[in-house]
Structures are given as structure tokens and as C-alpha cells.
């Protein structure tokens, strides 16, 4: 086959013009006749018994069309990301600030607000449990009645950890803390629900998993799934924060009760207070090394604060453990993973599922080990890095693993690692400059044994235009673009000949959630397979017409090619023929991500095996009087396996770096006794353009043999993962003081400087 024509090209996303001009319609833009405003009443206490709940007065207000409590839910009163332990509407107890107690639908915003105000609730505040360690005690109050406060506690062990530590020349042991982080997607959570004459409930949903939303909506309403349709309008970002459903069920319940369409949008404050956050994790980690720089063993114990409900805690904490050894040949590893309920904000999926917390720990440990040994951090990483064929501590064999060291070397080259010491380290008396790196791996896909599949429907019309229907939600990450490119590539048509229908459960098969960097891989494979079946029909027709062997023909840019030349026969002519003669140019394919059967028995559960490798290097300037850190340079070298849409790949990296700078330095939800004190984007400090240096990015292509289409791997999660530890290590290099807590706010940097003995900063 000839070189790809559409894959690898910088194309603009379908709808890009609408998005830029503001014409693209997001949930809040949907207008329907008779549309009501929905609102939820949230708990004013992080833990309280509901002694009385009376909605009579609210129902009596003119213009109020529905007021619902848990008693009005016809189906199951729970979310179902994992365990059904989070109610849609609280019954006898509220367990965190984001629990909803009642839902209203009214003629307009004001009436809805008045209805909320008229709902009478008597709360008996209960003492909350806000410290995971306290929650783990036998005598701690049960956060959810009948459920253990410890959601999960697992130990994974490989090798002989004791012996390795006993034989070590150097042991580095530290305790790390990370905090809640907020996705801060541009568009807050929202849904619009409408019941039609045929009793079908259509829900427009700003989400990551339309088919799972459909299941949850049907379950809450006690309807068959055949009567529920979920449509995704344009979605303004998600990052894991819309993986679990949010207000879709409430909007549907209200529309069903009111017999009028209902729009329910969380405002920013509600959004921050209610949806899942990145898990705060406290980690004790010890790393054993030999004098010559080999990492001999890693031991870690992690306690993650889940908030009251299970949500994605298992997945997050499990991924944390899966990556705690980093992209290194660690033969002896033990990790204890604990997820605990509290009355704090609920934690869940956020770009990287626990891998960013793990990377902060293992990449900080690597630099601390390097210091202890007096070794160059780059050398230490190169010495211990995995390669193609390495069997990881999880039991997984790394395939396209040479990307690891290649990314390290390329990043070092871009930043000028070798020449860095010649740069000015102290440009002013109070300023210190430093360089730090972090290199990571992150798996793409749900993980072994988790049934990772996606379906797609593809159809070519008689004019050779193509419609692609997929259940994969595009939240801005660009899966729609990637799918259109792959289809165009294989069908030999131009990129813009392919129209992708935004995910709609009435039109497309389930593609699973857009999470875990999986869609380009899994849905991408499905598109290729479906396109190949149509392609075979087209090539069969072409072979007959041109009297050539099918294998000698190719489809490119709207034409049939033979012997590397256009033949004059167009794909359109073939499509017309197919249509005239009744050959279907229609294909549906469900692609299952297949894991090769080569892991040993005692391997890590649900391991991911397609790895995104990347290295980032930061140059920082630390103001030793104020503790402020300025990121002066940020180099990022990522392996994408194969770039389908380079613009999308670079876009993911840019966004991840920006988010990573925030996670590293300023983003912290300040939570006290279960209450978030800064639920606004004025006070939850995400970086702005001036806080982000010109990003220096490069993308490597080490095709993954058992990965996605044409060797592609996911790229969505890795960009945010190394940023915080790279910055941390740069601060360490600049001031000689290690930090063990995220975010590294000015105050925490100053505190670290204070720990230094006077004069030690020059050492």
C-alpha cells in the first residue's frame, strides 16, 4: 500500500468553524418549545440526617411543574458508575456537600429558585469524618450504612522486596500528599430531557459515555432502554469529570414528571461542589537502589480519600498501584492500595486515573535517589528504563518500549540538558534557576479482562459521501476527527467527504466511554475494520472494471490507483455502480481490544498494556523570598505510536501541560471539614496564558504492534502526568530542597526553603 493520504495530515475538526464562531450548540444552547428550567437542592452540610423533608409549599408555587424527592423516583435511586451507593436524591442522610435532596422544574430560572427556597428540610447535622485514617478505624461512624468505610484494600507483590531492601546500598523513603483537583472544564455539567409523543425520552447530555448514561437513565425511571435516547450535542470538555453521569437522570425524571422538556445546568459553584475530583492520596514510598544506580525495589502504601461513594475509586487506586514503579525495570515491588470513604468531596476519574499521583511519587523518588547517589537524573533513568521486551513488575511485557529512552534522550536534547549548568543559576540574589525532568508511562485502554470494545456503523452513499455513526462522545478531544480521517483513508475519499454523526444512541452502537485514552485505539480499530469491508466491495468492483487483480489496486483521493498512478476510475463511479447493482456499501463493526495471552498468573489485575511513554523537562525560576515558581521552559516529548491527526496530538499535549502546571503549582480545592472554601474560578487558580511558557513539544512515533489503528496509541492522558514531578525536580535542582506535597504553592515552597539549614542552599 502507498503512504497514507489523510492519516497524519493536519486537518481541522468537523465543526471547528462553528465552535470558534460560537454557533456550535452545547447543552445550554438547546431551545425546545415549552422548555422548563430544572434545579437541584444541594445539602448545606457535609453530613446530616434528614429529619423532615416537605415539598408541599414548593409544589404550590405557580409556574412550578415538578418537585421531586427520592420518594418520586420510579426506578432505582442511585448512580451506577461502579457500585450503586450514591443516591440520585438523598433519602435519610446527606453524606457530602454535593448530595442533592430535591429536584424542581419550573417555568423559568426565578421560579425554580423560588421553589428551591420553599422546600422545607430539617437537617440534624452529624459529626463528619474528614480524615481517611480516622475513617479506617473500627469505631468510626459508617459513612454509608451497611458498607465498610474501606472501599478497597489490596496488596500487590512481586519479587522479594524484603531481601532487596536488605541488600540495598541506598534507601530513600518519603511521605507524599496530593490534594483534590478540579477538572475546570469550560462547560459545566448539563442535560436537557424531552419526552415525545411516543413515550421516548430523549436526553441531550454533556457526557463521556452516552450508552452508559442511557442505561442509568432507564434504570432511574424504570423504563426499558428502548425508550431512552441519549444524544451528545457539542461538549465543552470533560477530562473524566463527566465520565460518570451527573444531572442526566434528574433532568429525565423531571421531564417525565412534568411532561415538559427540562433543561438542568449546574452553575460553576454547583459544578465545583458536586462533581468528582482528583483523589487526594497520601503515599509512603521507599525506593531501594544499589550504589551503581540500579533500582532494586519499591515499596509503597497509598491511602486515597474517596469521599462518601465508591465511584471510580477502585479504578483510580488500582491504576495508581499499577504505575507506582514507573517506566523502570523494578523486579521487587510491593504496593498496598487503600481507598477510604469520608464526608469530603467525592473523588473519581480525572485525566490519568491515579497515574499523575503515582508519577509525582515515583519521579520525585528517582530524583531523590539520584541526589543520594550523586548521579545525573538522566543517567539514572536511562540506566533503569524499560525497553522493548522488558517484563514489567506488573507481569506485562512492554512492546513498543524503546520509546521510553528515546523520549528521554530527545527531551534532554531539546532542553540542552548537558549544557544546562553553564546557564545562569542565580540571575538575582533571591532568584534560583533549576532544571528537572520526569518520564512516565501510562496505559491506554480499559485494561486486561475488562471487555474493551466499540462499535461503529459506516455507510457510503451513491455519490461517495460517507456517514459514520459512532457512540464515542467527543468532548473536544477530537475522536470525531480521527474517525473521519481513518474512514477517509481506507475508503479513498477526501477527509471532508466523511460526516460523523455526533454520538447518539438512537443511531450508533455503543462505543463505551471516552476515557482511559481508549477511543482512538478501540473505536479507531472499529472504523478501520468497517471501512475495510466497504473498501473490499469497492476494490472488487474496480478490479472487474479495470480487469486487474484487487491486490494491485488502491483507493486514494477519490480515485482508484493502479501501479502508483490514478487510473481515471473514481470512487464515486464505483459507489454509483454498487448502488445500481445492489451491493451494500454499508458496514457495522464491533471491535474488541484483544490482549495477547502472554502474562503470567500472578500479574497485576486489569493491567493496561499499550503504553504511552513521554518525558517532560522543566526549567524554573524560584523566588526564594516569595516562594513563587515561574516555569520558564517546558519541553515535552511524547510517543503517539502513530499520529492520525497531528493537530489533535499536539493539542492534547498542550492542554495537558497547562493542566499539569496548574496541578503542580496552584490548583488546590481548599477543603475544610468537608466544605470547599473556593468553589469558583476566581479562587481555584488554573493557569492562564501568561503562566504557561512557550511549549516546546515533539512527538515520536513508535508504532504499537497490538494497539490502535496503524500503530496509534492513546495520547489523551499522558500529557498531564509528568508535568508536576518535572517541575518539582526543577525546584529541587534550583533550591536544593525537595517538596513532597502538591500543589507546590508559594507557601509550600517557602516552607521547604525554611527547612534548609542556613547557607545550605548553595550546597
Amino acid at each position: 500500500m502507498t503512504a497514507p493520504a489523510v492519516v497524519g495530515r493536519w486537518v481541522s475538526a468537523p465543526g471547528a468553524a462553528e465552535i470558534v464562531t460560537g454557533d456550535a450548540r452545547y447543552c445550554p444552547d438547546i431551545r425546545l418549545p415549552g422548555l422548563l428550567t430544572g434545579k437541584l437542592l444541594y445539602a448545606p452540610h457535609p453530613r446530616a440526617r434528614i429529619a423532615r423533608l416537605d415539598v408541599g409549599k414548593a409544589r404550590a408555587i405557580p409556574g412550578v411543574h415538578a418537585v421531586l424527592t427520592h420518594a418520586d423516583i420510579p426506578g432505582e435511586n442511585s448512580y451506577l458508575y461502579a457500585e450503586p451507593d450514591q443516591p440520585l436524591l438523598a433519602e435519610d442522610e446527606v453524606r457530602f456537600q454535593g448530595d442533592a435532596v430535591a429536584a424542581v422544574a419550573a417555568e423559568d430560572e426565578r421560579t425554580a429558585a423560588a421553589a428551591l427556597a420553599a422546600i422545607e428540610v430539617e437537617y440534624e447535622p452529624l459529626p463528619g469524618v474528614f480524615d481517611p485514617l480516622e475513617a479506617m478505624r473500627e469505631d468510626a461512624p459508617r459513612i454509608v450504612a451497611g458498607e465498610d468505610n474501606v472501599i478497597m484494600r489490596e496488596v500487590y507483590r512481586t519479587g522479594d522486596v524484603e531481601a532487596a531492601f536488605a541488600a540495598a546500598d541506598v534507601v530513600v523513603e518519603n511521605t507524599y500528599r496530593t490534594r483534590w483537583a478540579e477538572h475546570a472544564f469550560l462547560e459545566t455539567e448539563g442535560a436537557v430531557a424531552q419526552l415525545d409523543d411516543e413515550g421516548v425520552l430523549t436526553v441531550y447530555s454533556s457526557c463521556q459515555a452516552p450508552h452508559r448514561d442511557r442505561m442509568q437513565i432507564a434504570r432511574a425511571l424504570g423504563l426499558p432502554e428502548s425508550r431512552v435516547r441519549v444524544v451528545t450535542p457539542y461538549i465543552g470538555g470533560a477530562f473524566g469529570g463527566k465520565d460518570e453521569a451527573h444531572v442526566q437522570m434528574h433532568a429525565a425524571l423531571l421531564a417525565h414528571a412534568a411532561r415538559r422538556p427540562v433543561r438542568l445546568i449546574r452553575d460553576r459553584r454547583e459544578s465545583i461542589l458536586t462533581h468528582v475530583k482528583r483523589h487526594p492520596i497520601t503515599v509512603e514510598c521507599a525506593t531501594a537502589a544499589s550504589r551503581d544506580g540500579r533500582i532494586l525495589a519499591v515499596r509503597a502504601r497509598a491511602i486515597a480519600d474517596a469521599g462518601p461513594y465508591t465511584n471510580a475509586t477502585y479504578e483510580v487506586v488500582n491504576k495508581f498501584g499499577e504505575f507506582i514503579g514507573g517506566p523502570y525495570r523494578v523486579e521487587n515491588l510491593e504496593v498496598e492500595k487503600i481507598g477510604v470513604r469520608t464526608n469530603n468531596p467525592i473523588s473519581g476519574a480525572f485525566r490519568g486515573f491515579g497515574a499523575p499521583q503515582a508519577a509525582f511519587v515515583y519521579e520525585s523518588q528517582m530524583d531523590d535517589v539520584a541526589r543520594e547517589l550523586g548521579m545525573d537524573p538522566l543517567e539514572l533513568r536511562l540506566l533503569n528504563g524499560v525497553e522493548t521486551g522488558t517484563r514489567m513488575y506488573t507481569g506485562v511485557v512492554v512492546r513498543a518500549g524503546d520509546a521510553m529512552k528515546a523520549s528521554l534522550r530527545r527531551a534532554a536534547e531539546l532542553i540542552g540538558w548537558q549544557g544546562r549548568t553553564a546557564q545562569e543559576r542565580q540571575p538575582a540574589p533571591q532568584l534560583r534557576r533549576g532544571w528537572g525532568m520526569a518520564t512516565i508511562l501510562k496505559g491506554s485502554g480499559l485494561g486486561r479482562g475488562l471487555g474493551d470494545h466499540a462499535g461503529v456503523v459506516l455507510e457510503m452513499h451513491r455519490d461517495a459521501s460517507v456517514v459514520l455513526r459512532s457512540g464515542a462522545a467527543d468532548m473536544g478531544q477530537g475522536i470525531v476527527t480521527v474517525m473521519a480521517q481513518l474512514a477517509a483513508e481506507r475508503l479513498g475519499v477526501e477527509y471532508d467527504a466523511v460526516r460523523v454523526v455526533r454520538a447518539d444512541t438512537a443511531q450508533a452502537p455503543d462505543a463505551g466511554a471516552s476515557c482511559a485514552s481508549r477511543q482512538a485505539m478501540v473505536s479507531g480499530n472499529a472504523v478501520l475494520a468497517a471501512a475495510d469491508s466497504i473498501r473490499a466491495t469497492l476494490l472488487g468492483l474496480a478490479a472487474r472494471k479495470l480487469r486487474r487483480d484487487q491486490a494491485e489496486l488502491d483507493l486514494r483521493a477519490g480515485e482508484v490507483w493502479a501501479d502508483g498512478e490514478p487510473s481515471g476510475l473514481t470512487v464515486r463511479e464505483l459507489a454509483e455502480r454498487a448502488s445500481a447493482w445492489g451491493y451494500p456499501l454499508h458496514a457495522e463493526h464491533v471491535s474488541h481490544f484483544e490482549y495477547p495471552p502472554d502474562v503470567p498468573e500472578a500479574s497485576y489485575r486489569f493491567s493496561q498494556e499499550v503504553f504511552q511513554f513521554c518525558t517532560q523537562v522543566a526549567q524554573v525560576l524560584v523566588d526564594c523570598e516569595t516562594g513563587q515558581v515561574q516555569v520558564e521552559r517546558l519541553v515535552a516529548v511524547h510517543d503517539a505510536g502513530r499520529m492520525i491527526n497531528p493537530g489533535g496530538v499536539y493539542g492534547q499535549i498542550e492542554g495537558g501541560l497547562a493542566q499539569g502546571i496548574g496541578y503542580a503549582l496552584t490548583e488546590e480545592l481548599v477543603v475544610s471539614e468537608g466544605r470547599t472554601l473556593n468553589p469558583s474560578l476566581e479562587n481555584y487558580v488554573i493557569p492562564m496564558a501568561l503562566d504557561i511558557p512557550a511549549l516546546e513539544m515533539d512527538v515520536l512515533e513508535f508504532p504499537e504492534p497490538v494497539g490502535g489503528p496503524l500503530g496509534a496509541k492513546g495520547i489523551a492522558e499522558s500529557p498531564i502526568i509528568p508535568t508536576a514531578p518535572a517541575i518539582r525536580n526543577a525546584i529541587l535542582d534550583a533550591v536544593g530542597q525537595p517538596l513532597y506535597e502538591l500543589p507546590m504553592t508559594a507557601e509550600r515552597v517557602l516552607a521547604a526553603l525554611d527547612r534548609a539549614a542556613p547557607g545550605a542552599e548553595d550546597g
Partner: protein, 292 residues
């Protein structure tokens, strides 16, 4: 909930008459960048909004030996203005670090003052330049030193029937240097964690004739660091004296903890920022003296 009325009069008299009639129930609206948030949070529920946009209150001009800044001048206008650049560099600096371009193009000088946040960025430089405010009402006009305007967070001496129309500053004497430093959690769109403005006007012998140091976000209102100012008065500074004065500035600060920073951090930053501001102001004032 009652409906709200809105007017955008063309003559100041009409605005003042409406203010006289409705008092606290009427709210002046300038750029609305503060007002909207307060209305959203239910802190303010005005019945009438009086929009200043047609009143041409945005002039920035030289009037004898005074500079007059219209209350409706936006941060963007102040930032672009040559008079401000020439005479009030610390104010210009505050404008350049104010929010980001969209807010700077809407937010106004008057709004920043009347909103009376202890972290308001234009206040420290204006205090350092000895600004006065002009308050108009149907009954007449008052002129007050800016220092006497604020009474607490969100609190001023502005009467319900008054509108702030102008800020007036004496032209700083030759040999003046000034600096504004803002410490925020990010480099734009930040609410000051601590801010400092310092102004030094030197005499012929290099002695400090006027020292002004104002601190933002460390007390219920923006405050002057009087002890630090006094320590400089009449002396020809050197690095040691500036440092010593900066050390005294902390006495004026009574900071609190909030999600942006702890009380301890704010207190610790005061002498650091004051020293830096004084050093920069001193260097600028010597340069000005040399060229003046």
C-alpha cells in the same frame, strides 16, 4: 422578586437627581465587573441601575498642577494614556497587571474605588500619589483625600446620594520615583495576595522629601505604612535604610487567612515587597532627579 429598572442618563444632574430620589436602592453601574458578581451572590439587590456610560466621565487631563482622572476611565484607558505613563508609572503598573484585557476594557477607576476591596489594585498607587476623590450629589460637591474614603472592606464614606466623579492628584514633584508590586497566585487574572505601592520624592541633596508606602490585601482597607514612611523622611536612603524601613512596614499589616494565602505568609511578604518596591522607587527617583 421585583423587577429592576435601568437608566443611562446623558446629564450628570439627572443621574444625581435619581440618586437623590432613590438613595441606596439605586446603584451606579460602570463596567459592572464587580457589581454583577455581587448581584449574582445576592449581596446587592438594587431596584434601579444608573449607568454612567453616557456621562463622559472618562477624561484624563492635566489641570494646572493637578491630574484629573475621570471616574469612568477604564483600566485600559489609564494604561494607554501618555499622562499616566509620564507622571504615574506606579498606577500604570497596577493597570498593566490588572485582571486581563477584557476586564481592563470594562472595569473602571471609580468602580475599583467604590467597590472598596482591600485588594483593589488601583488604591495603593493612588494613595502613594496622594489622590483625592471628588464626590458629587444634588446638594453639591465634596473633595476628600482618598485615605479618608475607605472605612472597611466594601465600605466607604460615599453617601447613598453621591456619585464619585473624579480622582484628582497633584503632579508628583521632580525627583519622584514610584513602584507597584502585585503578588498574586498567577500572572494575570489574579486577586492580589499582597500588593505594595511605594513612592519616593527626593530633594536636591537626595534626601527623601516625601515617602509613601501603601499596602493592599493585608488589612480591612488598603493602608499606609506610616512608621516606614517616617523612617525614610528627610534621609538620603541607602540599601540598609530601605531594608530597615521595609521591616517597619509590617506593623501596619493585620492580615487574615483565606483560601489564597495564610495570614503568616501575607505578613511575611510585606517587608519583602516593600523593600523591593522601595528599591525600585529609589532607583527611579534618582534617575528622575538626574534627568529633571
Amino acid at each position: 422578586m421585583s423587577e429592576m429598572s435601568y437608566m443611562a442618563p446623558e446629564r450628570l444632574e439627572d443621574a444625581l437627581a435619581a440618586k437623590a430620589e432613590h438613595g441606596a436602592h439605586a446603584r451606579v453601574v460602570a463596567g459592572a465587573t464587580d457589581l454583577i458578581l455581587r448581584m449574582r451572590d445576592g449581596v446587592l439587590r438594587p431596584d434601579l441601575l444608573i449607568d454612567l456610560r453616557r456621562l463622559a466621565l472618562d477624561a484624563i487631563e492635566l489641570d494646572g498642577d493637578a491630574l484629573r482622572l475621570g471616574a469612568y476611565a477604564t483600566h485600559g484607558q489609564l494604561l494607554a494614556d501618555p499622562l499616566v505613563a509620564a507622571h504615574l508609572p506606579a498606577l500604570r503598573q497596577a493597570c498593566s497587571e490588572f485582571a486581563g484585557p477584557p476586564i481592563r476594557n470594562r472595569g473602571t477607576l471609580g468602580g475599583n474605588l467604590v467597590n472598596a476591596s482591600p485588594a483593589a489594585d488601583l488604591v495603593p498607587p493612588l494613595l502613594a500619589y496622594d489622590a483625592c476623590v471628588i464626590l458629587d450629589s444634588a446638594d453639591g460637591r465634596r473633595e476628600l483625600p482618598l485615605a479618608a474614603f475607605f472605612t472597611g472592606p466594601g465600605q466607604t464614606v460615599l453617601r447613598p446620594d453621591e456619585i464619585l466623579t473624579e480622582v484628582r492628584l497633584p503632579l508628583p514633584p521632580a525627583g519622584t520615583g514610584a513602584e507597584f508590586i502585585k503578588l498574586g497566585q498567577r500572572r494575570s487574572m489574579a486577586i492580589s495576595v499582597v500588593s505594595v505601592a511605594a513612592r519616593l520624592s527626593l530633594g536636591a541633596a537626595g534626601e527623601v522629601q516625601v515617602a509613601r508606602i501603601a499596602l493592599g490585601a493585608v488589612a480591612p482597607t488598603v493602608v499606609r505604612a506610616a512608621a516606614a514612611e517616617e523612617a525614610l523622611q528627610g534621609h538620603a536612603p541607602d540599601a540598609g535604610r530601605l531594608r530597615a524601613a521595609a521591616g517597619l512596614a509590617g506593623g501596619a499589616a493585620t492580615p487574615i487567612s483565606d483560601p489564597r494565602a495564610s495570614r503568616e505568609y501575607r505578613a511575611r511578604m510585606v517587608p519583602v515587597l516593600v523593600r523591593r518596591a522601595l528599591e525600585a522607587a529609589w532607583s527611579a527617583s534618582r534617575e528622575a532627579a538626574a534627568h529633571g
